[in-house]
Amino acid sequence: MMEATASARPSALRRPLHGAAWCLGAALALLLSVALGIAIGETALSPSLVLQVLANKLAGAHYAIDPISQGIVWNYRLPRALVAASCGAGLAVSGVILQSLLRNALAEPYLLGISAGASTGAVLVTVVGIGAGAISMTVGAFFGALCAFALVALLAHAAGSGGLRNSGQIVLAGIAGSQLFNALTSLIITKSGSAEQARGIMFWLLGSLSGVRWPDTVLTACIAITGLLLCLLHTRALDAFTFGSESAAALGVPVRRVQLVLLLAAALMTAVMVSIVGAIGFVGLVIPHAARMLVGVSHRRLVPASAMMGAVFLIAADVLSRTLIRGQVLPIGVITALVGAPVFAVILLQSQRRRG
């Protein structure tokens, strides 16, 4: 009976298997990346030591390991790898949402002015001294990001006739918002920053994973998973948006509600990620395109694939940032840009070739 079914509808049976194989492969890739992220770092720790630490912590083994090395692996590197994965997944999924809702291939999470707002919030706390050292940069950045997004949303709403009938409105509003907040950041830095403060902000603005610990891991993982699940629930709606919001409405998708929910989800995810690790660019832009090339345009496959690829990409970028130059940690945003830009060029050329 199974064979008859299989031969009668081969594609139907192959799809779950196909899907399962993909899931397994993706999970393995993620585990491997995390393992690499833990094993490689500023100081050399032997792989056997790393495995022993993992055994101690996860399997209750009792290897005698120097507490500093154990702490480095379990409390520094593992959270760092997991946060990189969560951020990569979160930014990639936000990118998918924005590219689909705005029907713009260049849309990315920072289009909504979020990273610009976050940087302004961060400099207000550290350079101007708002909060007198009681608030950390992260909190300042988060509120800055939300303010910027609120401003952009208001602007887009006021400019357009409500909703995203013309996605150009929100893109333009986003550009205006980003420019405004970037200018504010520059003003604050040049007016009152010393070289040291400017440098501290600079490093953070380009992305830095060095201060993350377990509480940050829990937060980013929860946010990333929530965002991912929310997106997975709306894959049909996202598919419908491919042909525009009017067509989506015709297909029975509650357009305004879906736009609101997904846009808010993307904005919140990005705001949290940016405030914790700084502005890491190109992930939200490039990963959805790369995923589209690999698994096609159906959002049911695109969303999880983007999340997975984003996670692996950012872990790899983090490992590179720590090992490219000896004794120095490069800002992770530099790595993602150096890799992302050429990859984007390749994708562009490939898609042109396919089209024409």
Partner: protein
């Protein structure tokens, strides 16, 4: 006989004349300073300082009445100079504008950093001042053996040498023709430094390693540590403490992983009035060290071998010796340690 009668008066007259001319001839003077020649036709009647180190140095030389403007302050002025400092107008807490400086019509501008007055000077280039007939003096501690065009705070090509500090004092004293005061100040500082070094040596703790934590952009992020060639690095080295940080940058960012692995015997942390980063507060620094899952296992943290030093004392100024005294007193109080 005529020759013998006039011999003694002639000799006396010659002596008086030569000593008079020696006394009267300090100006016009010229000295080499950071690649420029500083020429003065007379003692500067007024001076503007950019940088607290230069300001306090001039106060210490008794030249407070010559100051017509100060700028670039990192913290409150030393208490012994408060009265005289209150009389001097402050042009800016941070970097002053070029016009505000020249508006005071100074004869001399004393700059602590090359990034204030120099090739990429925020206030202006030295030529800009010279074109207006204003002499400029850049403190040697920032230009000798340092490439200020590389690295955010400049990169030292050679280790900082306290001789640069004594040179600043001697040269400023020379420019204002107050050499005796200059020599007294240098002698006093040298003696205090020697006493501080002797105290540490007497504490009989050989082979101590140390790291100096200045601050961090965020509490858990990579901290700014003292590089091996900067002023802070010099202080550690002179006191016989081996700096675990190897970078030649002034304040490099070093990961906590590296610091924890190097496990210094003594950890020095900076105390400051500034509150921009959470880590500026030394109490927060201590709290972080004790709570962070990796740093709490460091020997220095477990055995509480943490030394607190004023951040103001970590520059190439007369406060440098204050810092060395603080560190040496604290190290001596730590008692015998397991040498590493």
């Amino acid at each position: 006989m005529p020759v013998r009668r006039f011999a003694l008066p002639a000799l006396l007259a010659t002596c008086v004349f030569t000593s008079l001319s020696a006394w009267a001839a300090p100006y016009p003077m010229q000295l080499q300073n950071c690649g420029y020649a500083v020429s003065l036709k007379q003692a500067p009647a007024s001076v503007v300082t950019i940088g607290q180190a230069g300001t306090e140095m001039l106060y210490a030389l008794g030249l407070g009445d010559k100051l017509v403007g100060t700028s670039l302050w990192f913290n409150a002025v030393l208490p012994q100079f408060k009265a005289i400092n209150d009389k001097v107008p402050r042009l800016a807490d941070n970097d002053p504008s070029f016009e505000s400086v020249i508006g005071k019509r100074p004869a001399l501008v004393v700059s602590q950093f090359e990034w204030m007055v120099g090739k990429d000077g925020v206030v202006g280039t030295r030529e800009q001042f010279h074109d207006l007939g204003i002499a400029t003096y850049a403190m040697p501690s920032d230009c000798e053996g340092k490439n200020n065009l590389k690295g955010a705070d400049g990169t030292r090509t050679a280790a900082y040498d306290v001789q640069a500090l004594y040179k600043s004092i001697a040269q400023l004293a020379q420019l204002f023709d107050v050499q005796p005061q200059g020599e007294r100040l240098v002698k006093d500082l040298r003696e205090r430094q020697a006493k501080a070094v002797a105290k540490v040596q007497a504490a009989q703790q050989p082979n101590l390693s140390a790291a100096l934590w200045f601050s961090s952009a965020d509490l858990a992020i990579d901290p700014y540590m003292a590089g091996k060639n900067g002023v802070a690095g010099y202080m550690l080295q002179t006191l016989g403490l081996r700096n675990i940080v190897d970078s030649s940058e002034e304040w490099p960012t070093v990961g906590w992983e590296t610091i924890a692995k190097a496990n210094p015997s003594v950890l020095v942390i900076a105390r400051m009035d500034r509150r921009r980063f959470p880590a500026d507060d030394y109490q927060k620094k201590l709290e972080f060290l004790k709570k962070d899952p990796v740093t709490q296992h460091m020997d220095a943290v477990k055995k509480n071998r943490i030394v607190i030093v004023d951040a103001d004392a970590l520059q190439g100024s007369i406060r440098l010796v204050d810092g060395m005294e603080q560190i040496s007193d604290a190290v001596r109080k730590l008692g015998p340690a397991a040498a590493r």
